[in-house]
Each structure stands twice: as structure tokens, then as C-alpha cells.
């Protein structure tokens, strides 16, 4: 990567990962599912027949791989379309997504 593409990559990755993660959780787009009771992994989403299903690993895999692909593409773009990206997006978008999660999970705290 060149000197300019590294900041584009890391900012885009932070933004894309945060957005894709909350989308993955909300729409359950896990790349794989883990069933702890049977210690089995399954590709994509597969509800467990015995015990709980864990999607957390799959959500991180979905958002991590997708964000990596998006950030790689963006870091290859010519300077014009990407120079609006602001370094502060690398913390403000994840912070906004954290607030979204507090809202999504509010039912735990306001019963």
C-alpha cells in the first residue's frame, strides 16, 4: 500500500466493519454458526436442534471479511472519490454503532 492508501484502508475498515457488524447482528447474517452443546460448526445460519446456537463468531467473520474487501477496494481508488473520508469517522461511526446497540438491547434494562 502507498502512504495515502493506508489511512484510507484503516478508516474505511473501521467504518465498514462497524456498520456491517450491526447489520449482521440485526439481520443475523452470520458466516457460520457454532453449536456449543454439540461442539459443531455449520456454514451460515443454522438454528440448533439441541441447546443454544452462537452466531457472534459468524457475525464478526461476516463483517471482518466484508470490511476487509471494501477497505481494500477503497484504498485502490484514485484520490478524488476517497479524499472526503475523515479520520474522525474511525471513532465516530463505531461510537454511533455502540449507541445503536444500547438502543437495540434496551429491553434488558427497562423492564
Amino acid at each position: 500500500m502507498t502512504g495515502r492508501s493506508v489511512p484510507m484502508f484503516v478508516i474505511t475498515f473501521a467504518v465498514a466493519y462497524a456498520v456491517l457488524y450491526v447489520v449482521s447482528v440485526e439481520y443475523n447474517l452470520a458466516l457460520f454458526t457454532y453449536h456449543p452443546a454439540t461442539e459443531e460448526f455449520h456454514f451460515l445460519v443454522k438454528p440448533a436442534s439441541d441447546g443454544p446456537a452462537m452466531y457472534w463468531y459468524g457475525w464478526m467473520a461476516t463483517s471482518g471479511l466484508s470490511a476487509f474487501a471494501i477497505a481494500t477496494l477503497v484504498s485502490w481508488l484514485p484520490k478524488g472519490p476517497t479524499n472526503r473520508l475523515w479520520s474522525n469517522c474511525s471513532w465516530s461511526v463505531p461510537l454511533a454503532v455502540m449507541v445503536v446497540f444500547v438502543y437495540i438491547l434496551r429491553r434488558y434494562f427497562i423492564r
Binding site: 466493519y17 456449543p36 443454544p52 452462537m54 457475525w59 479520520s87 474511525s90 465516530s92 434488558y108 434494562f109
Partner: protein, 155 residues
Amino acid sequence: MMVFLLILHSLLAVALLGAITHQAISAWAPASRASAGTFIGRMRAVPATSYVNAVIVLYALTALLGAIIYPTYRLNVRIVLEQMQLHVPNGAFELKEHFVALGLGMLPAYWYFWRAAHAADYARTRALLTALLAFIVWWGFLVGHILNNIRGFDL
């Protein structure tokens, strides 16, 4: 084995907590001449850049160990919390898992903006990324600590 991993997870979290807290204090309240020589002054005067690699490695290792012991929690602890209708601790842990995952996605930016420490333009970004990671680490540590000792809290 799980108890050993849980204790190791806790110890790594303590080290991470110390590193990120020192760095955040140094980034937000650098040492002034007036505070030089005092305990607080020395805490504010730590070379923040020197913590970057340690924070990244400790964050990744602590999250990895947390991911390894998570199925045991899911099978043996969360179900009990649900049966006991302990919604707030349950929700706090749900937030912890999502916050930690979001923190992982911020690590490349955190590394880059601290690596470019010479660029004054990034001082605000560095400080805010560090503060957000510090919040995530503190949240994860406190929630983990409370859940680990939940029987003693008489909730």
C-alpha cells in the same frame, strides 16, 4: 482447564486495562510542569506511543481467550441468568460482546493513527480512538468481574 483460561483472561484484561488507561490519561491530560514529580504527574507523563503494540496484542489475546471461554458461559451461565430473570447483568454482557467486537474493528485505525504520532493533525483522532477503546476495555472488565462474582452481589 476453563477455570485456568478464565483466570488468564482476567489477568490479561488487568494488563490491558493498565496499558490503555495510562495511554488515555497521557493522551487527554499530558503532564504539565506544575504536576511534574507527583504520582499523578508521572502517570500523565508516560510515553503514550510506547503502549500501542502492547494494547493491540493484549486486546487481541484477551478477546481471543474470551471467545474460547464464551461457549462455557453460554451453556452454563447465561441460561441460569435467564432463568433467574437477571436481565440487567445479561444485557450488560450482551453489550460487552458487541462492544468488544466493535473494538476489534477499530484496532487497525488505532495502530495507524498512533504510528503517525508525529502528525499533529491526528492528535484528536488518536485521543478519541484511545478513549473509546479504554471505555470498551473498562466496560468489558467491570461486566466480566460482576458476572464472575454475581453470587456474591446478592442480585
